[in-house]
Each structure stands twice: as C-alpha cells, then as structure tokens.
Symmetry: C2
Subunit: 136 residues, 2 copies
DNA sequence: CTAGCTGCAAATCCTTTGCAAGAAA
DNA sequence: TTTCTTGCAAAGGATTTGCAGCTAG
C-alpha cells in the first residue's frame, strides 16, 4: 500500500549539510555565490551548490526568488515569511513587521475564489537617508 | 532658469518607435524576445531592442520586472499596475482589479520612512476549478 | 556637422548539464 | 553493492558591450 505522501529521503552529504547550516544562520535570502563562499571551505563545488539548492527547492525545504538583477536568492522555507523593503540606492534592507498584505490577500480570496497558498512580495523604494542625501 | 523636471529628450528612431508601439498593444508585460520578434520586421537588431528598452526604463517610461525563470518582462509604465494570481495546478492566470496592496504600501511608507518606488507581487494559489477537482 | 544610435560579434553573468569518479546507505 | 551525489569542464540562455559606421536633429 503506497503512502499518498511522497516519502522524502535523501542522502545526507557534506554539501547539503553545509548549505542548510549556512541558510539557517542567514536572516535574509542569499545568493548562490554567498552560499558557495561558505561551502567552498568544505571543498564544495559551485555546481554542487546549485544542485543541492535546486534539490531542496524541489523538496520544498528552500524557497527561491529572483532579484531584479537576475540573481536567485535562497532562504529556508521554514523561515517566517518576512518581507523587506530594499533601498534602490544603497541596497539597505529593512524588515517589515508582519505581513502587510495579509488582509489584502483575504479580500482577494473572497473576490477571486482562489485559495491563496503563497505569495512573494518585493518592495523597492528609497530609504530616508538616501532621500535626504538626494535633496541636498 | 532650469526646470526642476529633467528634460526628456531623445532621438526618435525606428527602433524606439517600434518598441513603444508594440508595448502599447501589449496587455501584459512581455519578454525582450517577443519585442524583438515584432521589431525585427523593421530590421531592428536584438541589442538595439535591449538598449532601447533599458533606455526607456532609465527614463521611467517602461517598467521592467524579472520573472521567476530569470527573464526580464517589460511593460509601459503608463499601463496600470496589474497583478495576477497564478494557479499552482493549472497555471491559469487571473488578473486582479487594481492593486490590492496600494493601501498597505501607503501604511508602509509611513511606518518606515521609505519612499516606495516599485513593488512586485506574485500571488500563488489554487483556482476554484482545481479546488473542486481536488475535492472530488 | 555632431552627438547620439545602431549593427555586429564577441563577451559576460548566472545557471545548468554530461559524464566518469566518489560516497552514503 | 547499488544508487545517489559530486567535481570538473563545457554548454546554455539572457543580457551587455566595444567599436566602427550610420542618422536624426
């Protein structure tokens, strides 16, 4: 009798451990390059980093998004769904408390009949400091 | 006396006209490839397409976003900021009237001091039809 | 005429892949 | 052992760039 839940089994390798460990310490989504820089200390290759990353993304353990400059950003799926505003000038990132879109999404569910499973928001702007600099 | 509004001047070339014309007819953000396919009938080169696109993006006339598969999507900045919900099962896309996050973003500006310039939201869920199928 | 565009081809950046060797279970 | 993973190097796709020739203003 087959389980309807796909059994998630995989080999526990140095590379996968290193990647997961690094991601656990990361507060923000990080690039593959950063992950690689951490992983290469363990002798892990760049393609392995990508392969592990995609493996975990497929398993739903890691969340992947694409930044405006075409770079993939990875984060643990278990991390709370933090949103950030990114400053387009200085690239500072500021975390947002809670999800500002939760209510809007509930309204959307009612309006569309969709059951919303996931959402991903990137918010870009100019931070107070850069606004000040620009006006000087 | 200098205007505080940057004067937007540029040469009116065949390539730029073609790109703008094509974008005016497009309801959704489109890839550079699609734009190129339209523009090449006028003998426009691929690099020119990209160069014009980036030129207009810099001028604020065209909006650029990146899709999850790392492809740039372009749309006229004057087009309303349409969001869509994508069904995770059948990949159907449903347009959302207006921007559900407009109010939330205003609150965010107040809360963070950021001047929000752009935002990008991907909303994923299960559409009514697929929900029904799943429960049968 | 002259600054600003364009075409072409080569380059770059991020990411993926084929294949043989290596390691977990 | 057997299957899954890795390293390496090469390929791939999207986007950018250098440079010389072209063109709108």
């Amino acid at each position: 009798m087959a389980s309807d839940m796909e059994t998630i089994t995989y080999k526990n390798t140095k590379g996968r451990q290193a990647i997961l460990a690094f991601l656990r310490k990361s507060d923000y989504p990080v690039t593959a390059v950063k992950i690689y820089n951490a992983a290469k200390k363990e002798g892990i290759n760049f393609s392995t980093v990508y392969r592990c990353l995609n493996f975990f993304v497929g398993k739903g353990l890691i969340h992947k998004e694409v930044s405006p400059d075409h770079v993939s950003l990875f984060s643990l799926a278990s991390h709370p769904d933090k949103h950030v505003i990114v400053c387009l000038k200085c690239h500072k990132r500021v975390e947002i408390e809670g999800c500002p879109y939760e209510e809007a999404n509930k309204a959307l569910e009612k309006g569309t009949g969709f059951k919303i499973v996931d959402h991903n928001a990137e918010i870009y702007g100019i931070c107070p400091e850069c606004q000040k600099k620009a006006s000087e």
